[in-house]
């Protein structure tokens, strides 16, 4: 049996770990609440943009725009949204696994696609394995505002326009609830099957100056807002995943401490019993 002091040290260190995971859990919980709020307040904007884009694109059939038309796919772009830090349970590994599986399924060689990594974990994973990571963003704040994301979104849309890739997908964790999120693939570009988010949008618009000019402004904005929406969604599930992971860690630490306490008490009891036996034995020998 381990000696008393060793067990005591272990109990103490586990207690300290527990205090830390507990604190991280609470930090994540409050961040999660904010992130959820952000994602929610973003919905009206997204729906509106989608409505207008859908009604323009469907209303004016003679309108063409490079972002609306599919072209032969020579190269595919993938945006991967992960977190910058670990300790978030399966948050990062599941989305990375999802992307890797798809890549293996769809492509024969690494030349057929490029990756845009948002988040350090994803970037490091793919850079280390020598995938084609053409751009990466790390150090996004926990509550990204639109201006934080604009640069990467604009770049991603710009590279499609320049022909760096012919279609663009996003991989991220869609927030469902605190305990569950879902790896989601979303096609960003070209923009296809647009459906109005709300019913009853069939107004045929006047365009000022012209439908083409409006699509020119609107479509990049739409694609950018899709990406921003995914990042917000990803952030919400990141904080939720971290919160759950930290809760599990805290619970584990509690279990461990309880067991160690038992072992400690048993050892202490044994030591006392042994001492008494020795004293009694010593006294008996003197008689």
């Amino acid at each position: 049996m381990a000696n008393l002091r060793e067990i005591k040290t272990r109990i103490n260190s586990t207690k300290k770990t527990k205090a830390m995971t507990k604190a991280m859990q609470m930090v994540s919980a409050s961040k999660k609440a904010r992130a959820e709020q952000n994602a929610k307040s973003y919905v009206p904007y997204m729906e509106k943009v989608q409505d207008v884009v859908a009604s323009i694109a469907s209303g004016a059939t003679d309108v063409t725009h490079p972002m609306l038309s599919s072209r032969p796919v020579k190269k595919t772009g993938y945006i991967l949204i992960t977190s910058d830090r670990g300790l978030a349970g399966a948050y990062n590994s599941s989305v990375i696994r999802g992307l890797v599986n798809t890549l293996n399924e769809r492509h024969k060689s690494k030349d057929e696609y490029v990756i845009l990594a948002i988040g350090r974990v994803g970037r490091d994973y793919f850079v280390k394995r020598e995938y084609n990571v053409i751009d990466s963003v790390i150090g996004l704040p926990d509550q990204p505002s639109f201006s934080d994301v604009k640069a990467i979104a604009r770049k991603a849309v710009g590279m499609f326009a320049e022909g760096t890739y012919d279609e663009l997908y996003m991989y991220y964790n869609h927030y469902i609830s605190v305990i569950s999120s879902e790896v989601t693939e979303k096609k960003v570009l070209p923009i296809t099957n647009l459906v109005p988010a709300t019913e009853g949008v069939s107004a045929s618009y006047e365009f000022e100056p012209s439908a083409e000019a409006i699509l020119e402004v609107l479509l990049p904005q739409y694609a950018e807002s899709l990406i921003y929406g995914a990042i917000l969604d990803g952030k919400a599930s990141e904080h939720a995943a971290r919160m759950t992971a930290m809760k599990a860690a805290t619970d584990n630490a509690s279990d461990l401490i309880r067991n160690l306490d038992l072992v400690y008490n048993r050892a202490r009891q044994a030591a006392i019993t042994q001492e008494i036996t020795e004293i009694v034995g010593g006294a008996a020998a003197l008689e």
């Binding site: 952000n38 307040s41 973003y42 009206p44 904007y45 509106k48 943009v49 409505d51 207008v52 323009i56 505002s145 639109f146 201006s147 604009k150 107004a203 045929s204 618009y205 006047e206 365009f207 000022e208 100056p209 000019a213 409006i214 402004v217 609107l218 904005q221 807002s225 921003y228």
Partner: protein, 135 residues
Amino acid sequence: MKTVQVNIVTPDGPVYDSEVAMVIAKTVSGEIGVLPGHIPLVAPLTIGGVQLKNAEGKSDFVAISGGFIEVRPDKVSILAPSAEVASSIDLARAQEAKARAEERLKGKKDEVDFQRAELALKRAINRINVHEGNV
């Protein structure tokens, strides 16, 4: 007086929601005034101020950084990357941003940076103007 519902929405949430008698906005092809019952219209906006006149003839001003306006007979929506109601504009911060952008315009010759600084300057000036109520 007839009124129309106006929504100003940004990615960071709704900024303005009210019944107004008239909307005056700056589109890329010029200034437009929208009254209730306007035919459906979509137009991109430039960086500028939007004036919203309510039924009593009082005006609210909102600084807009681009985006577009969607008009329907009973509803007007403005979607912009960012928008600030005049009363909530932080003047000191806007002036700081203006000074920063001017500084950068002097220094940089790189075209992309130049454009960005120019846009930043426009936005800052717009915010200051809207705050002071001259649109």
